[in-house]
Subunit: 160 residues, 2 copies
DNA sequence: TATGACCTTGGAGTGCACTCCAAGCAAGCG
DNA sequence: CGCTTGCTTGGAGTGCACTCCAAGGTCATA
């Protein structure tokens, strides 16, 4: 355990260091203690839809969200951090099923550290490969763009 | 704009410069003249399935493929180049519908150069953005991996 | 207390990009 | 000639990741 990340003057010491581990330097909408966001607030913060948030919970991508006395969801800063991380994983192209697998590992506790690490390292390799592919693609695009070259000068002054 | 990237001594002069424009330095399986590949050969070269190849043709992502006297498809080196490029576009996350749009522009001839250029430039911007996102994700992964750190050392010696 | 915005659920529907199927034609081989 | 393998077609099916719906309960404001 023992988080310890000395990332300069981050006022982020917010991670309770239980499970989410090294928290990103994210500024939460409200400080810990008042972090009981409704689903629509989370929609506003994350850009996900309420449908998607409920669906994430149903499939086990999020552990059970805290509820108000009448059964409405109340998300915490921790949940926001998790959603943030899930967003990153999603960007890597990782299938949701694999993210659920990771979430399960997290729920199982510290004993799954090696598995989690392996999963992340394999993801890391995928990301590196994808970046390489994209850079390759970029080269192709540049070649074609320069071929079409000044032919495109005529119209469209708002090209940026 | 004016891209201008002087990428060393590109020996690429093979493009007939009709439509596909600046062809990538791809070595074709057979030289021009003997390039009448069956669908299963193209499957072997590209990794796509025969289903997908036929489907690409049906939706207009490929212009009509040459046929043998009995009606079987015979792909040319040019078709292979196009599939190569389509593969690149696909990697950028461009929806198939947009690729079809590009294919239509190509079919319409030189008059669409400006539109094609614009489309590619917008794609280029998307690619750059995606690379940036991925690099961001990489940083997050690295942070987490180093958190899980040596906890994962125990088993699995084949980590690479 | 009533109006309207917000929240709940299970289950069904959507859009994308394939992916497969059945029925049938064609070529090569013993 | 029959057999196998490969190719053809239109249309239907699949899997993923949402996305929406209907029917109803909750909450803040007038």
């Amino acid at each position: 355990m023992t988080v310890m990340q000395t990332t300069a003057g981050t006022l982020a010491r917010n991670a309770t260091s239980t499970d989410i581990c090294s928290a990103p330097p994210r500024r939460h909408p409200r400080p810990d203690g008042q972090d009981r966001y409704t689903i629509s607030e989370v929609v506003a913060f994350t850009g996900l839809t309420a449908h998607t948030l409920r669906w994430y919970e149903r499939i086990g991508l999020m552990s059970h969200i805290d509820r108000s006395h009448t059964g409405q969801r109340r998300y915490s800063n921790r949940d926001l951090d998790w959603l943030d991380f899930v967003g990153k994983l999603r960007m890597t192209g990782m299938p949701v099923a694999d993210m659920v697998r990771y979430a399960e590992l997290v729920r199982e506790g510290e004993s799954t550290y090696p598995d989690r690490r392996q999963l992340l390292e394999s993801t890391r390799r995928d990301v590196l490969a994808r970046i390489a592919e994209l850079q390759d693609t970029l080269a192709v695009l540049d070649r074609k763009i320069s071929f079409y070259g000044d032919a495109g000068r005529a119209r469209e002054t708002e090209s940026t």
